[in-house]
Symmetry: C2
Subunit: 321 residues, 2 copies
């Protein structure tokens, strides 16, 4: 049985995983989820990326928007607003609130996030093993120009992403707490026993990059000696979804499929898939020591996504041959 | 300006207060609310009696059931059930959840319940000053026959009342924590400066009785030297609503209007209103040293309730003359 480890962010990672399950129905898939975008709201612990993976694979996701629950209502949020309690810019629905209430209650009772995630998944049955990258608190902050002052200030990633819609220039992205975080139980073991490691078309800075910032994970992947293959989230010089260009700029990386591959580097990546629109980038990536193929990378439906996953697995096979 | 202090439980107290506001629109009304029925559910602090008063006077109550919010939905509760997280027997709606989320967040931040209640009331504008009886934790427990064993066990009041529907015989009612609780800021001062103290037709054991169990409150009322007038929650030998007979039995008090008056005692009560159906009880109550009148005591609408409040204030006037 093939063992696949995937480092996943939110929407892009979750949709890729749905295709991967179609492409490799017999595989044992372990997902190491980004928790750098976790946020405490209204006294509740919210894990947007973990929940997006869980809801997407468990059939509870709002398909149109890609995050949050289907059939969602917003009575709690409306009431919180009536009490004058913010923030209102984060779209927590009633069904979603229940997840955060259960999670917060378990964490208050002393359970680590990895156990909590497993408990939540026992309902959703995502068909993968979903692990947070760490049980420790890591919060990605973004250094931006202060819109109300002359200086710069650090804001929580969600405030930058959701409230400001990445509208201010980002000067740095800092996964606060990462340097002292430990990989969650099971993460290093899954990597050590993996047959292949995949980087889905998730945000290379604030999703995959944050996971790799947890000491031990990057090293474990390098030491596993198995193919590591990524899929470009940049197509035709722009992010397929989201605002990855903003945070790439903050870390000095061009918004091109080739630049992202070089950012990961040949010490990490063995193979890289770019979209057919970026076929001209293949040579540049290969010159950087990373095997590269140009294939369609638009996740228009599960079958198209499954085809991408098959290409990634085929490239992994190829680089390990 | 007349200063009125009311010791209130949930539905009965809240409805009486609505009538009292009509009867005495110029009065300064301070409500000392029962918190013995408070319960932690899903990691959130729920104050059913305080909320019933707040919602009822603030126009947010579900009129038919007498508790909870109007226009309520139950998405959060349904989801918690889907996670297998209980209890499901307590009817928390989505709008209601927002109140508990705000309260819990403020308490976690270090605010006492009295400050939190004031903050919540700044939205609801109940037109009275609503104080919890105490900022300390008091939880009423009921000693019942263990339905699954041969012995007895103590259950939280809400479990007894809502889950078991007072179906098991109650042997004792214990306000756990009351003996070391302190009256909330403002309570003793309001009593000391009151012109009259009213006991609405709330449950004499688990509502008014619990408030009086907080050391200092009973003494302050006795020392205030102002008329104390109560309204019988028992009409024709049965509670007007709820299951007060069950908890009266637990403390050895008959379910009659006269027995409840004697239970409070002439050391506490100066006047007592019974329903016209219990006119024959007037002599018995007066023989116990408590001035008594028989008037209609059914809170069918605000005007009928206002008439009751006027009778209570008139009786207070009478006993102080």
């Amino acid at each position: 049985m093939q063992r696949i480890v995937v480092l996943a962010g939110g929407i892009g990672g979750a949709r890729f995983l749905r295709g991967l399950k179609v492409a490799a129905p017999e595989a044992e898939i372990t997902v190491v989820g980004n928790t750098g975008d976790d946020i405490h709201l209204f006294g509740l612990k919210v894990c947007p990326d973990l929940d997006t993976v869980m809801y997407t694979l468990g059939g509870g996701i709002n398909e149109e928007q890609g995050w949050g629950r289907t059939g969602e209502t917003f009575a709690v949020k409306e009431e919180l607003g009536a009490y004058g309690v913010g923030p209102q810019w984060f779209g927590l629905g009633d069904r979603d609130f229940a997840t955060h209430i259960v999670r917060t209650q378990m964490i208050s009772a002393g359970y680590p996030l990895s156990d909590v995630t497993q408990a939540l998944c026992s309902r959703w049955e995502p068909g993968v093993r979903l692990l947070p990258m760490t049980d420790d608190r890591v919060e990605t902050h973004v250094l931006v120009d202060d819109p109300e002052g002359e200086g710069r200030k650090a804001v929580h990633f969600q405030e930058y992403w959701v409230r400001m819609r990445a509208g201010a220039d980002a000067h740095a992205v800092v996964p606060v707490g990462a340097e002292s975080a430990k990989p969650a139980p099971g993460v290093l073991d899954a990597v050590a026993h993996a047959d292949v490691v995949l980087f889905p078309p998730s945000n290379p800075v604030v999703s995959v990059g944050t996971i790799l910032a947890v000491p031990g994970i990057r090293e474990a992947i390098a030491e596993a000696g198995v193919p590591v293959v990524g899929l470009s989230p940049i197509v035709g010089g722009a992010p397929v979804r989201g605002m990855a260009d903003k945070v790439l700029a903050a870390v000095g990386v061009e918004t091109t499929a080739a630049a992202v591959a070089r950012h990961y580097g040949s010490g990490m990546l063995d193979g890289w898939l770019v979209d057919t629109a970026d076929a001209s980038a293949v040579d540049e990536v290969e010159e950087a020591g990373i095997r590269c193929r140009a294939v369609p990378l638009m996740m228009t439906d599960d079958e198209a996504t499954a085809a991408m996953a098959r290409e990634a697995l085929a490239l992994a096979e190829e680089v390990s041959a």
